[in-house]
Symmetry: C2
Subunit: 374 residues, 2 copies
């Protein structure tokens, strides 16, 4: 890929200059940044009017989220890659797909706080959790179901789901793919992690952050990191820059240290948002990932090629801000990022409804054999 | 395999006749069978003196049981195949192994009530839950770890486990493979399902079984099924026959209906216990599986080739007792077997301890590539 692609238009040029400009603004006018709103509170999840949350819908969504029968092999649930017992990811560079496929193209983002995302997926190709939930299930590389009807056909054979979908959604034909997605999204809206040390600090407990984390917060601010990692989730350049959820990465490939990282960690090769819009200006634009719980979601970046957070911080400084950080700088920023690890909800394990006296998965060995021949 | 193998000695001949003999005894002397002990109570799990149960050890064992990092790929936990949110199995004919391997040789038995087994695995190659737990982790076909040391090396890099193993086991070097197995086994001893309709019936609630289930219980008794499916777990021929945990399957391949099933469902080809002992008398001997929750653990038999319980009942009648059942007989026995579905424990989801700022799984893509080349 030629360098031309990185600066393919005026819009890109302007965008690449914004962080430095914002850094100046933030350095002189710190009270105006989003995280200084008063009185401070961890944000509330927005619930779509057409998919209200109820305890029964959350419980149903949790069952489906944990149910591997919504994958072709009967072995891959949402939870397989977005592990709720952990940090909402699988800590792999790239997840494995159905039948052990190794061609999942991008690193798995965490499900925790995904309810706050303005768009979903690295390339923003889904506008809501509901739309996102349908993606991996039908993706041949991920859960492998041929279509939503195949999912519905499986679930309709499970008496417990027949009953629960009727109770939650009502109507003549309550098990639909839309309702499957609505239930999963409803459960996911409960997966938020408030009350991090940073949140405690912002609420007034000044001891919640140690000196290193406070120095890291100040440094991140002065460098202009939050031009992109903006808003309460530190993920939304639209908050500060009005550019929506996306940012180019790497934005400064001409900076020598960045060029080295690009090669070492294979940071290019994925056209990002361009794959959705086919607009040349969107090449290598990615949804800005949240900083919340970033300490727990290694490895990093769209290919998951960077195994630890200090390296990720160095790369971001070089490739987004044309800056080379000292080890002290890096340690302080990492300390601040660690302060964004929140409290995870205590979850009960759902009980998956059964198919007494039979199984839905007798055909799986043949499907596995067919998959191997491909 | 020649018919000679099915009747390879006097011991086998005698054993194959025992069910019919016992059927006569039970028919005339029903009060003497194990399930009529008074006052009736669901059994208590035996706890080994050298591995006492404590709440902290149960909690640690649960974390490890749910932790996919104890597999080579970082994706296969004990729970992957022995799904605690379901029925302790995966309802597949044969489970998939690490990196999507399709050569797992036998159907996955349920973890629920495994604590009552006198031996573990279809071929009884482990004497305890502790010994069993070490098997799949190190099996190249299943979880793929090269040895116990590799597991210990992974867990030692997880700060939360360092702390918890020290609290639970004490000593200088608390993270050992023996302690990993001890913790998993301790959690598994909590996975029991008392209070089935059958248990309620035996405690005196005569309405807990409907007429069909009661007829099925009587029929199973008169056929002699519990010669092998003996004792409170309906899994231990040693209780009634003194022959230990094993029984030959199929025992009556010369019976025409059985011969048909053998071909249709590939019931032979696995030497069972012989693979462990290399004693010709042990050919095709298998651990008798429990009837507890059998309605939920389809598909059936060591290869998982039989997809529903009525067919499994027909096959057992033909291949073990040289009997062909009517549809009414089958329905009644299935109704009785359904009455053995117990109450599953309500579980909290564990929180897996994290590796802040890094991941243990950066090397997995290379391991996956190496596995594909083999």
């Amino acid at each position: 890929m030629s360098e031309k692609n990185y600066f393919s238009g005026d819009r890109q040029m302007n965008r690449s200059r914004i962080p430095a400009i914002l850094a100046l603004i933030f350095a002189t006018c710190a009270t105006s940044v989003a995280w200084a709103a008063s009185p401070y509170a961890f944000p509330r999840v927005a619930v779509p009017a057409d998919n209200p949350m109820t305890p029964a819908k959350i419980a149903l969504g949790k069952q489906i989220y944990f149910d591997p029968r919504i994958s072709l092999s009967g072995t891959v649930s949402c939870d397989t890659c977005h592990n709720v017992a952990g940090n909402g990811t699988d800590n792999l560079p790239l997840s494995f797909g159905v039948f052990g496929r190794v061609d999942v193209p991008r690193n798995t983002p965490t499900v925790f706080n995904a309810a706050f995302n303005t768009v979903q997926f690295w390339d923003g190709r889904a506008k809501s959790l509901e739309e996102q939930a349908k993606g991996p299930i039908q993706n041949p590389v991920e859960m492998g179901m041929p279509n939503g009807d195949a999912v519905v056909e499986r679930l309709k054979q499970i008496p417990g789901y027949q009953k629960e979908f009727a109770q939650v959604f009502g109507g003549k034909d309550p098990i639909t793919f839309d309702n499957v997605a609505a239930a999963i999204a409803t459960f996911e809206r409960t997966l938020v992690t408030p009350d991090s040390p940073y949140d405690q600090y912002m609420k007034g407990d000044k001891k919640a952050l140690n000196a290193s984390a406070r120095a890291g917060m100040k440094l991140a601010r002065s460098l202009g990191c939050e031009a992109c990692h903006a808003g309460p989730m530190f993920d939304n350049p639209g908050t500060a820059m009005g550019t929506g959820a996306y940012q180019k990465f790497p934005a400064q490939p001409g900076y020598a240290a960045c060029a080295k990282y690009v090669q070492q960690y294979h940071l290019t090769g994925d056209d990002g948002r361009f794959n959705v819009t086919h607009n040349p200006a969107d090449k290598q634009l990615f949804k800005v990932p949240t900083w919340r719980n970033v300490a727990l979601t290694a490895p990093y970046f769209n290919y998951g090629t960077v195994g630890n957070l200090p390296d990720a911080v160095r790369i971001m400084a070089a490739c987004q801000l044309s800056t080379t950080l000292t080890d002290k700088d890096v340690n302080e920023i990492v300390a601040f990022l660690n302060s964004l690890t929140g409290k995870f909800p205590k979850e009960t394990l759902p009980r998956l409804p059964e198919t007494p006296n039979t199984t839905l998965l007798m055909g799986v060995p043949d499907l596995a054999q067919a998959a191997q021949k491909k």
